[in-house]
């Protein structure tokens, strides 16, 4: 499965597109898309750059980021892995 992700225009935070066409910071709320749905949804999402910048597809495996970019997307989802308390503060 796939999901559409982007960065929020106003503050750059990582966001995901929901099944109702909203944008959320929670991956759990993102629409799970098969290949056909994914391309069509990305096309729509790419026209929403007033909310979401640089929309693209990510792969999901058991509701977590998967595929070759799993680490990058996991870091986008959960924040830096540096263990620094100052980098982990809630946005």
């Amino acid at each position: 499965m796939k999901a559409v992700t982007a960065n929020r225009l106003t503050d750059g935070r990582v966001i995901y597109r929901t099944a109702t066409g909203q944008w959320t910071t929670e991956l759990a709320e993102a629409a799970r898309l098969d290949d056909d749905q994914a391309d069509a949804t990305l096309e729509i999402a790419s026209d929403e750059s007033q909310i979401a910048v640089g929309a693209y597809l990510i792969e999901l495996e058991e509701d977590r980021p998967g595929g070759q970019k799993w680490r990058r997307e996991s870091i986008r989802l959960s924040g830096p892995t540096t263990g620094s308390t100052h980098a982990q503060a809630t946005a």
Partner: protein, 545 residues
């Protein structure tokens, strides 16, 4: 320090007003992202993995306490309470909201700072020896020249859209601490046979995917000709640089393709037409800029303290440097706590550094290419007070120049370009080398780590370089040996196949153990490495692989 005049203030204020309007138009939809992106980049605003990143210029790494407090306030009010000092003597904020950035720029402008030309294909923030104006081995303070170059290059209409970014460094000491051979142009202050100071001009150095050392094209350039000669250098590059290929667009590729001699000839031809024109620097203007950069005067002549306090003594031994003025020292404030994030500093720590600089450091602070800070001028009889203040702030790590003084780019934890993480590798190496005592035993060693080939972490010019690569979703790390940043600059050699991240700290520990086993009397790590060659360490690196 240089003080803005009315032109500087007006230029920066105009740019902020322009950018505020651009942000407004982006937010209300009048600008598309494609239209806005080059505009934000011209103001130092990147979009990274988790958020926008704002890169703030610190001209030639020089700050005062008021500016440092402003940086702390920005970290507190608009970020997550910290900032990150970079290898280009700048500071980056990792979490600002786009909507806040014009206000942040206003705060910076109020203390004569900005983010202009910290991105884009223009002449970037000029860097310099962070000990300039303080070092005991200095021929001449490079900062006035860096400031002259800054003024000339700021908003330069001819050089705003170069084939690629362009970095200039200035060094005025016998030891090169500015890395002049790994910059697009490196200016080394020298003295000719007549006793006149001028510049060696080195061109075509750089790191990234094609690391090259700069080549000398002008053994002696008279100071008054600096700007006309730089203009000629830039014009030849601007005309012939490879705009058709991003990976071949830096001046190092042009200099290599033409040959340094031919490139130098073309520069001379261009220069002949302009050298006696309006770019000739008037003596009174040079004197005016120099007047901003005096050395501190002090009647105190106390020697460096000898102490029974082992922690203080260790810090004096590792982090103090000789000063040109009797009775003064420079001190390195390590931003490399054991197991910490290289270059990170909290808002409270920034405030503490500002207080110490104001109270005991003639109000001057420097940012270094090693991601540390420096108090360049501290009276010897105030060293203990400075150290105590740093201990209280958690900034007294006595490891300047040791293997735990690791440089690392932000890597995949923050950066959109990265393929692998850098900071966790730095943290693991630092912890292991400290636990085993190897950092202390091995003495002067540089370790620099990158998460991609763009090499913001300078791995090519580290004694031990670490480059993260991605292989089908897994991180691997190539080790290079034998690089050097400044004096005796060198590009490190790749030792072999990449290691898994968890194997890197032990491999580096074994490398240092090998050095300790085979070193001759008085040899530093780099000396031994150059004597025996990198292959002598291959077995140590791959022992467990």
């Amino acid at each position: 320090m240089y003080k803005y005049d009315s032109y500087d203030h007006a230029m920066v204020a105009d740019r902020i007003a322009e950018f505020r309007d651009q942000v407004t138009r982006r937010l209300d939809g009048r600008l598309t992202e494609d239209q806005f992106k080059p505009l934000r980049l011209m103001n130092g605003v990147y979009l990274q993995l988790h958020a926008y990143m704002l890169r703030v210029a610190i001209p030639y790494g020089t700050l005062n306490s008021t500016q440092m407090r402003t940086l702390a306030g920005i970290a507190r009010d608009y970020d997550r309470g910290y900032g990150h000092f970079t290898t280009r003597q700048n500071i980056q904020y990792n979490w600002p909201a786009l909507v806040d950035i014009p206000d942040i720029l206003d705060r910076l402008a109020a203390v004569e700072m900005h983010a202009i030309q910290t991105s884009g294909n223009c002449i970037r923030n000029v860097t310099a020896d962070p000990f300039a104006g303080a070092a005991a081995d200095e021929l001449e303070d490079g900062r006035p020249w860096a400031e002259i170059v800054r003024q000339w290059s700021s908003f330069h209409p001819e050089f705003t859209f170069l084939p690629r970014k362009f970095k200039i460094a200035v060094n005025g000491a016998s030891a090169d601490r500015a890395g002049i051979r790994v910059h697009d142009i490196g200016l080394q202050i020298v003295q000719n046979d007549a006793g006149t100071t001028g510049f060696e001009v080195w061109v075509g150095g750089g790191q990234g995917r094609t690391p090259r050392l700069g080549q000398l094209i002008k053994p002696f350039l008279a100071p008054e000709d600096l700007l006309s000669y730089l203009t000629a250098c830039l014009r030849v590059y601007n005309q012939h640089g490879r705009r058709d290929n991003l990976y071949k667009a830096r001046i190092k590729i042009l200099v290599e393709a033409l040959g340094a001699e031919e490139y130098g000839h073309q520069v001379e031809d261009e220069w002949a037409a302009i050298r006696d024109g309006e770019l000739k620097l008037p003596a009174e203007e040079i004197a005016r800029i120099r007047a901003f950069f005096g050395k501190p005067k002090t009647a105190a002549t106390a020697p460096v303290p000898v102490t029974e306090n082992r922690a203080f003594a260790r810090w004096i031994d590792r982090n103090r440097r000789d000063h040109a003025v009797n009775g003064l020292s420079s001190v390195v404030i390590s931003l490399k706590p054991i197991g910490g994030t290289p270059g990170d500093i909290t808002d409270a720590q920034m405030d503490a550094v500002a207080d110490l600089a104001e109270r005991h450091g003639f109000d001057e602070i420097r940012a270094t290419p090693d991601q540390n800070l420096i108090l360049p001028h501290v009276r010897n009889d105030k060293l203990e007070a400075v150290w105590s203040g740093l201990v209280e702030a958690g900034l007294a790590t006595a490891n300047a120049g040791l293997a735990t003084d690791i440089v690392a780019c932000p890597g995949l934890d923050y950066c959109n370009l990265a393929n692998a993480r850098s900071i966790p590798i730095a943290q693991a190496i630092s912890s292991l080398l400290d636990e085993t005592g190897l950092s202390e035993k091995a003495g002067d060693v540089t370790i620099k780590i990158d998460g991609c080939i763009n090499a913001c972490g300078h791995h090519h010019v580290a004694h031990i370089g670490v480059l993260g690569v991605d292989k089908r979703g897994e991180e691997f790390y190539q080790i290079t040996l034998g690089g050097a940043f400044g004096t005796d600059a060198a590009i490190g050699s790749i030792i072999g196949k990449g290691l898994a991240g968890e194997d890197v700290p032990a491999a580096i520990a074994r490398t240092l153990e090998t050095y300790l086993d085979i070193r001759a009397d008085g040899e530093r790590f780099i000396d031994t490495l150059r004597r025996v060659g990198p292959d002598a360490f291959k077995e140590a690196i791959y022992a467990d692989a």
